[in-house]
Subunit: 361 residues, 2 copies
């Protein structure tokens, strides 16, 4: 309830400021921090991407601003209704809820979802609440198991009693309450197939950990879930990815945040996560060269991009990884470990690496 009040309160403040401007015969306006690369900085202290302090002011009585101003007020109002009704909407829903013709004109308030998405990101900054706290959800994906008991939407849910499927992670985890956590660490992996391998082998039970995955890029729901478990229980988080630029990027986003969500880093980035695999050392040690896949142009381009990121620029370990992969001209997948036996990953690879703290930071 506290969260609900906080988000509703900030939206109410926004409305009251506008009304107060009108009553004073001032040109109503909202101040919006600028979300552009020119205003994104890497905070060396917190080790996350964040926005600088450049702002722009959006006026109602300004031909260039009026539409965006209206969009901002309309979507703030949609969000406030959602919070009051205790409902959540997807980005797509909000687009359709905002999409209507402005009375007396033939102009739509929004024509494309990118417009409403944009305003939602503005509102995150204006109100200081994440999209999820504004009751607007991203996509749902991913599964989790482990010796954890939570309370959610009136149910008590044991993550260790969910068979081969696990708990389906919702898009919004803000209202989950953790009742009991019995785990030493968390392994997050990019592939659902690897998660199913570890779950079938009861890796989480034997090693006393939590395993969680989405498919490909990490969903916001999972990033927030990981962050909450780290902050509330100080559980170490290990990231298990393919040996390729895309896997490295998934790790980078989890740890430092992403450029287009720099404004949300505070709520999403987890500077303590560590990279668990696959590395160039693993390639040699576990003889993965015979399972190499040739790099394509976009792999090489992405690798170059990664090597130039502020947070990787001064990391000897990561620069070595980027250089070695380029020399190999090849990448390798986690599943290549299956060539050594279907449960090699859960019985040998992961326990060895975790025991010897063979992580990259």
């Amino acid at each position: 309830m506290k969260k609900k009040n906080k988000s509703a309160e900030s939206l109410k403040n926004l409305g009251e400021r506008v009304i107060s401007d009108i009553n004073k015969n001032k040109n109503p306006n909202v101040i919006v921090p600028i979300r552009a690369l020119s205003n994104v900085i890497f905070n060396e202290k917190t080790k996350t991407l964040e926005l600088g302090n450049k702002t722009s002011t959006r006026y109602f009585f300004n031909v260039a601003h009026a539409k965006k101003f209206l969009q901002t007020i309309e979507i703030a109002s949609i969000s406030k209704d959602l919070i009051n009704e205790e409902k959540h909407a997807s980005l797509r829903d909000v687009f359709y809820m905002a999409k209507r013709t402005i009375p007396g004109t033939n102009i739509n308030l929004v024509d494309e979802q990118s417009e409403s998405d944009d305003i939602i990101e503005d509102l995150e900054l204006i109100t200081g609440n994440s999209r999820e706290q504004l009751n607007i959800n991203a996509n749902k994906n991913g599964s989790v198991v482990g010796k954890v008991t939570i309370e959610d939407a009136g149910d008590t849910i044991r993550w260790d009693k969910l068979g081969s499927g696990g708990w389906s992670v919702p898009s919004n985890v803000e209202n989950i309450k953790f009742k009991k956590i019995d785990a030493k660490y968390i392994v997050y992996m990019e592939k659902a197939a690897v998660w199913e391998r570890l779950n079938e082998d009861k890796f989480w039970e034997r090693e006393n950990c939590i395993i969680i995955s989405s498919q490909g890029q990490t969903t916001r729901g999972i990033r927030r879930l990981l962050q909450r478990m780290y902050e509330e229980f100080k559980l170490p988080i290990y990231v298990l990815c393919d040996y390729d630029a895309y896997g490295f990027y998934i790790y980078s986003v989890l740890k430092y945040g992403s450029i287009n969500l720099a404004h949300a880093s505070e709520k999403m980035a987890i500077p303590s996560v560590r990279y668990l695999g696959i590395t160039s050392k693993d390639v040699e040690k576990y003889d993965l060269k015979k399972h190499f896949i040739k790099l394509k142009d976009h792999d090489i381009a992405r690798l170059k991009q990664l090597s130039e990121y502020d947070w990787f620029k001064n990391s000897k370990d990561w620069q070595k990884e980027f250089k070695t992969m380029k020399q190999y001209g090849s990448k390798a997948e986690i599943q290549a470990l299956s060539a050594r036996g279907i449960s090699f990953i859960s019985k040998v690879y992961l326990p060895e690496k975790i025991k010897s703290k063979d992580f990259l930071e």
Copy 2:
């Protein structure tokens, strides 16, 4: 255990036939039904796509066949080991497990995953077992809730006690046991965001139904789960899709099977499913034209393809849908209903359509 024996038995038979050929100094061979459009027929009686009776014989002592013959035997052996060890592997895992250099040569048994995938489909036909029964899993995706209790991997799981997330559907549902089902019907939807809407509104509790979704094309795990619930409990299944060619195609695959999996129709197709939304009638009734999205060339091509399918060719209703959409030159999304209120879909649209049996077949 019965299932395990059946699959293991069929693989053993395959091996024994080969050994028997060798002992008789015969050229070892396997007979494989042909999986090509030329051998795919639409069975008017069962209303599903299935394979005809054309076969080809794969010989060991034949330069053109030898490699495929070896691949078949090798992957049959991998599958048998998996079944014996009670483990499941992904298609990608099986590829890596099969990928090795044939001794005394510089030839790999498989070079690309498409080769091992192909053999796995052959083995489904040769042994009469689905990929899942051979312990080889497809991708995992999707969530389910409803008043259902199952047993899976030693756990008793209540699908009605899983908060906002639901049960994460595994890739393989062959070993699930249904303990209790209290539901009048099932709604399958293509979008996770719509599922979250219906779950938050407790649609399944109010309407006494099961709601299930993946994201986009239906996973094999979900198709099998739906089929099992239909066959074991005769629950009607309604398919909720966008008003577009892709949504229609998702429905078509669920109901009739797909051309490239025609051999698996018996285990996957569910001829009784009905199409619940969105239709051209809904477009008029709920004023969705203002939310139209223009058709692209690939939409029109897909629409033409659909209209020529054997099972749609003689359906007046479906031909009308295809024609109307082409005339509109536009498609519409389920979420467009949100313009009428966030819970319009769960409180008005679905109850009205289901009550008046406003389905397409």
